[in-house]
Symmetry: C2
Subunit: 240 residues, 2 copies
DNA sequence: GCCGTGATGGCACTCAGTTCCCTCCCGTGG
DNA sequence: CCACGGGAGGGAACTGAGTGCCATCACGGC
C-alpha cells in the first residue's frame, strides 16, 4: 500500500494541497463556510495548521484553488497573440479559457457557486479574482488601442463588457447545475458584445457573414417633418 | 471651551464618527493603512475601541464613510424614474451621482485614491462597493428589459460598461489631483457607452443639440451585416 | 557517517472583530 | 427631590485568521 501511495503522490504534484481542498469543501458543505475554522480543516486533513497557510495564503483561497493557474494561462494566451488578430475576438477567446476551467469540474464549480452565492466574504474574494481577469484583458486591449483617441477608455469598457457577458452566461450555466450547454451560452453572450463593439475604433472587424458597408439607418417616427429627418442625417454623419 | 465643543457636537450629528475618520486618515497617511491598528485610531481619537466598531463594521469601512449613503441615493434615484425615460441614459445619470459624491470632497477623494491604489485589501473592499453599484444599475435595467430576448444579458453588459466608463473617467480625474474637469470627462466616457449601446434594443438617445421632435436615429456602425440593419429597423419599429 | 536543503509540525504572537457587562448621562414621572 | 429607564460610550475577555520563529524529519550528495 505504501508503494501505491507513493505512485499517487508522484502522479499528483501536491497531494497535500488536494487533501486540504477536499477536507475544506467537505466541512464547508456540512456546516457552512463561516462555521468552519482552519483548525477544523487541518484536523480533518490530518496535517499541521501551519501547512494550510503554506499552500493557501488565506482561508478564502482554498475555495478557488485553480484561479491562479487560470489567470497565468490567460496572460500567456494574450501575450502569445500576434498583431494580425482582431483584439475583441481575442479577448473573447481569452474569456473562454475561464469557462473551460469551470467546465472541467462541473460538480465542483456548482458547489463553489452555491457557497459564494451565500457567503459575502467569498463573494468579495471572487470579485477580486474577476477583477484581475478583467485587468488582464484591459491591459491587452490598451496596448492594442494605444495611440487611438480614447483608447484606454475603449479598452476598459470592452474588457468590462466581455467579463460581464461571460459571467452572465457562466452563472446561468451554474444555476442549471451544469446541465445546459455552457459553451453555446458563452458564445451567444460574447457574440452580443462583439456585435456592439465591432466597429467604431478598430480597423473594421471582419464580419462572420455579410459585407462591410458603412450603414446608417434613420428611422423617422410617423408624423415627423421631413426637414427634421434630413437634419438628423446631417448631424449624424457630421459626427465622427 | 467646553461650550464650544458642545456647539460642535450639536452641529454635526455624529461628531464621533467624523473624529474617527479624521484620526484614521491622519494615521493612514503618516504610517500607511496596514501599519495602523484600530487601537492606534481610537487612541488618537480619544475614544474607546468598542466605539469604533459601533460606527464602522470593519476597519476598511472607515475609508469609505459615505458610500452607503450614496448607494441609497442611487437606488432611490432609479426607483423614482418613470417609464418614459431612456433606460441607458437613466443609468448614466445614476452613475453621475457617484461622481458627484467624489467631487464634493476632491482632496479627500484623492487621498483615498492613493490609499486604495497601493493597499490590496482596500482595493478588494472598493471592488465590493463598486459591485453593489453595478448590481443596482443592472437590476434597474433588467426590470426595464424584462421580456426582451437576452434582456438580462444586455442589462448586465450595459451596467458593466457604464461602471467601467465612469471609473475610467473618475480615475483619470483622481490622477490629476482633482484638477481636470471631472464632469466633462465622465460625460465624454458615458457618451461612448451610450453610443455603443444605443442600437440593438433601445432606440438611440436624442442628440444633445436640437429639439425633441419625434425623430429616432439609429446609427449602425460600419461593418454591420445587412441582416443586422434590417433587424434594427424591425425592432425599432416594433417598439412603441 | 556528515551536512545542506526542503517540507512539515508546533508554538507563540499580533490584530480584527465580537460578546458581555459596566458606567455615565439625561430626561421623565412620581 | 428622587427613582427609574434607556441610550451612548468604555472596557475586559474571547475567538479566529494570519505570521514568525524554530525544531524535526526525510532525502540526496560527499
Amino acid at each position: 500500500m505504501s508503494s501505491s501511495d507513493k505512485a499517487e503522490e508522484a502522479a499528483a504534484k501536491p497531494p497535500m494541497r488536494d487533501a486540504l481542498v477536499a477536507a475544506a469543501f467537505q466541512l464547508f458543505l456540512e456546516r457552512g463556510y463561516e462555521q468552519t475554522t482552519v483548525d477544523d480543516i487541518v484536523a480533518l486533513a490530518g496535517v499541521g495548521r501551519r501547512s494550510f497557510f503554506r499552500y493557501f495564503p488565506s482561508k478564502e483561497d482554498v475555495v478557488f484553488p485553480d484561479h491562479e493557474r487560470c489567470l497565468a494561462d490567460m496572460t500567456a494566451f494574450l501575450a502569445a497573440s500576434g498583431d494580425e488578430d482582431e483584439p475583441v475576438r481575442r479577448v473573447c477567446d481569452a474569456a473562454r479559457l475561464v469557462l473551460r476551467m469551470y467546465a472541467e469540474n462541473p460538480a465542483f464549480s456548482v458547489q463553489r457557486y452555491r457557497l459564494t452565492k451565500q457567503v459575502p466574504g467569498l463573494r468579495a474574494y471572487e470579485l477580486s479574482v474577476v477583477w484581475r481577469y478583467e485587468r488582464a484583458l484591459a491591459a491587452y486591449l490598451r496596448a492594442r488601442f494605444a495611440g487611438r483617441p480614447d483608447g484606454t477608455l475603449r479598452a476598459d469598457v470592452i474588457a468590462a463588457a466581455v467579463v460581464a457577458a461571460h459571467n452572465n452566461a457562466l452563472r446561468s450555466w451554474l444555476r442549471s447545475d451544469g446541465k445546459d450547454d455552457a459553451g453555446a451560452a458563452v458564445d451567444h453572450a460574447l457574440g452580443h458584445v462583439q456585435e456592439a463593439f465591432a466597429g467604431p475604433a478598430g480597423p473594421a472587424a471582419e464580419r462572420p457573414a455579410g459585407d462591410q458597408e458603412d450603414v446608417v439607418v434613420v428611422v423617422s417616427r410617423r408624423g415627423a417633418p421631413l426637414w427634421r429627418v434630413v437634419q438628423e442625417i446631417e448631424t449624424t454623419l457630421a459626427r465622427d
